[in-house]
Amino acid sequence: MAPSQPAQKQKGQGAVKAPDQRQPTGPDYGRILIDTAITALIALAIIGPIVGMNASAPQGGLVLEYRWGTVIALVAIITIGRFLLHLLVWNRPGWVTPQHVKRWGWGAIAVGVVAILIGMFTMDAPLGFLAQIHESLPAWFVAFGVFALLSGIWLLVSGANEVAQAKGVQSHLARTLEPFGKYVGVVMLGAAIILPFIPGVDRRIVDLAILMLTYIMLGWGLNIVVGLAGLLDLGYVAFYAVGAYSYALLSTVYFPLWFGDAVTPWTFWLVLPLAGLLAACWGLILGFPVLRLRGDYLAIVTLAFGEIIRTILVNWYSFTNGPNGISGIPRPSFFGIPFTNDDKGFAATFGLTYAPLQRIIFLYYVILVMALITNFVTLRLRKLPIGRAWEALREDEIACRSLGINTTSTKLTAFAMGAMFGGFAGSFFATRQGFVSPESFVFMESAIILAIVVLGGLGSQIGVVIAAIVVIGAFEVFREMAFLKAIMPAGFDPTQYRMLAVGIAMVLIMRWRPRGLVTKRNPSIFLKEKKAVSVDLVAQGHG
């Protein structure tokens, strides 16, 4: 029984987690059955009303449909799953060692990969023999493969963790992966630079990458406020909006009014710094009233600020054009050369054939450079006294004041810096869309940006990148899962389940990595050796 003890410690979070003092006689089946029954009841109570009844309104009158079949299926899945967890994980047979678990993991991964490959290559001719037997058979292979692959990875990781825990050392997998941690950033940067020229990369992928980079930049900006200074800001989208509207209004109304048409090709480059500056000013304006607030109160006021800005944008019709938004925002030019299909366009000037993709690729590089500047400035600030003061502020505000740090200006600079990068991202958003309206700046955006920062691990730059790719990518991955359509009932649309997937991903990450994906803090200065600080010691700030 000895080898299974670590397993219980790790996975034994069940209500009847196998007691540590368990005798070798075997699991307590009575308690397992009771727990399984309770699970079934809870599942029924939750799923019954939500899934079991559907109020629909076909012509005239409200009709209540019952879907007990679905309810029974779902409850059965949960109950049987719980029962199997009891038997196979929490009360694993004695002869199963973590080594077995690892081996099964490898096996499942191999089976999964093979199944996916078979499924993918047999979808159509000339190897379409499976599809000839039954239309949706290849899709079933892919679905089975994905499932086997995921469960294999899970088995492998948990087996490796167990082995390591039993030995009291870091797991082999983690030890192998850790040295590569340093290179993740470099590899990602390299991939980002060559992305538009990788064969097979089309407009859709570049557009997605632009979207991801926008969120990465926003995440990095918010990371200054939330991650470094520890000030919970739920209204970050306000600065994004200020940046976008600054760009929209200046470029469509005020620049033509003040300078005429002469500056039009240069508008983007002239307005960009102004938009950042205006957003920074709004950061200061928000900063002043919330200086004395902490925790929940700070969160509520910043949340309100985000809504105030949006409401103003909707209602100040004469200035912002209200809910109709502002359209016809000039596109960015290649330093004065527009992306048009004529003699003076970018393509003609550089002797290329005109393609609409050129403008998209240019936009991609603009946001890439802007995001990198954000990262560079943040990393640099961390090594400057102001950055250290931000982190000290997150750790202990009273101690900061006793050391002569002006906490007022420290907080205000954090708000202004974060707001400025939000403003830059906003004006990029405006020029990319060519249209802004208040609908783009709802609370949901703030929540997504904050989720990216929290999932990445507060204060971690690379964590924000990974989290942004996961969160924004997860929305898009569901478009790709065409094979699900083939095996699910007619009318099934995977894209409808995107938010569900993001929600599940967040729950899982918060379950296994409650402090975010990256749980190390890099010290800003070191004497002999740079040792990462475990995040357990790092304070999360006062709100």
């Binding site: 600030l381 006294p385 250290r388 750790e395 202990d396 009273i398 740090i405 200065i525 600080v533």
Partner: protein, 300 residues
């Protein structure tokens, strides 16, 4: 005349602090001499920490004046200054009864953060620092040198790159003192620095404080319950009870003062026979040594 009258670094002049109906400090006056170790003692709840909070600007006294005087003759009226300006300009540094280190930052970072204002100027208030112009690199090296000096003093050089929260309790206490010293203070206020230390650590602390007095040319004001520390190292003792000063003088004079004995043991002044004074003081020391930080009544 004694040093704390001739050469004061801090003058507390008729300070009163009221919290609503509660009179925490009542018409308190005392001086802290330059190059002196001054101990502020008194039973729990006597108002010692309130005095500290008034000195360092966390509270504003209801009445009275607190004047900080530098050697060059510059004077700062502390009750009119913000807390961080007191630390920055008047150069008063403090530690806390419950340690307030930056637990998630390394030992070295804690000491570098304490030199914030010097470094801030060197980085051109961040603008020059971001652009990489100016002498920030040099200033940071100097800051690290200063940190190394203090790390050496508190025997933590080997742990400079470890997070402060990982240090044992005694080391955290010493680090907090070193961090306060890194701000370059003229007056160091220590709130129960020996609380929770074992006798050996307590001896180390005494040595550290004596060496600070010898080398730095500053005033040290400390709140302490551990009579061993108080009697061994202090030059000047001020005793508080219920917010009032009941004794002020050298350790030898204070320990035989009947009012002090009465305050600590809760007997009437007339009932305490003068001959018993010395015996009682010794008994008191033993009691205090055995439970240096127990039974706090909030300490303010």
């Amino acid at each position: 005349m004694v040093n704390w009258h001739n050469n004061p670094v801090l003058r507390v002049d008729r300070v009163t602090m009221r919290f609503g109906g509660l009179l925490a400090i009542d018409d308190l006056s005392f001086n802290v001499g330059l190059n002196d170790i001054t101990a502020l003692i008194g039973p729990n709840g006597a108002g010692k920490t309130t005095v500290f909070n008034c000195l360092t600007g966390f509270y504003k006294p209801t009445e009275g004046m607190i004047v900080m005087r530098h050697e060059d003759g510059k004077e700062f009226i502390l009750e009119r200054m913000d807390d961080f300006r007191i630390a920055q300009h008047a150069k008063v540094a403090r530690t806390f009864q419950n340690i307030r280190l930056f637990a998630g930052m390394t030992v070295l970072e804690n000491l570098v953060v304490a030199q914030h204002n010097t470094l801030m100027r060197a980085s051109g208030y961040t603008v020059a620092g971001i652009l990489g112009i100016g002498g920030y690199g040099r200033a940071e090296k100097q800051a690290v040198e200063k940190s190394k000096y203090w790390l050496d003093k508190i025997h933590l050089t080997d742990r400079a790159d470890d997070p402060a929260g990982d240090l044992p309790y005694g080391a955290q206490r010493r680090l907090e003192i070193a961090r306060a010293m890194c701000t370059g203070p003229k007056l160091l206020c220590l709130d129960e620095p020996a609380a929770g230390l074992n006798p050996r650590e307590s001896d180390d602390l005494n040595k550290l404080l004596l060496s600070i007095r010898k080398d730095q040319g500053i005033g040290i004001l400390l709140i302490e319950h551990d009579m061993r520390v108080v009697m061994e190292i202090s030059d000047h003792v001020v005793v508080l009870d219920y917010g009032q000063k009941i004794a002020d003088g050298t350790p030898a004079a204070v320990r035989t003062d009947p009012a002090v004995i009465a305050a600590y043991l809760g007997v009437d002044e007339e009932e305490a026979p003068p001959i018993a004074g010395k015996l009682i003081t010794e008994a008191l020391q033993r009691v205090e040594q055995e439970k240096p930080a127990s039974g706090k009544r909030g300490g303010r």
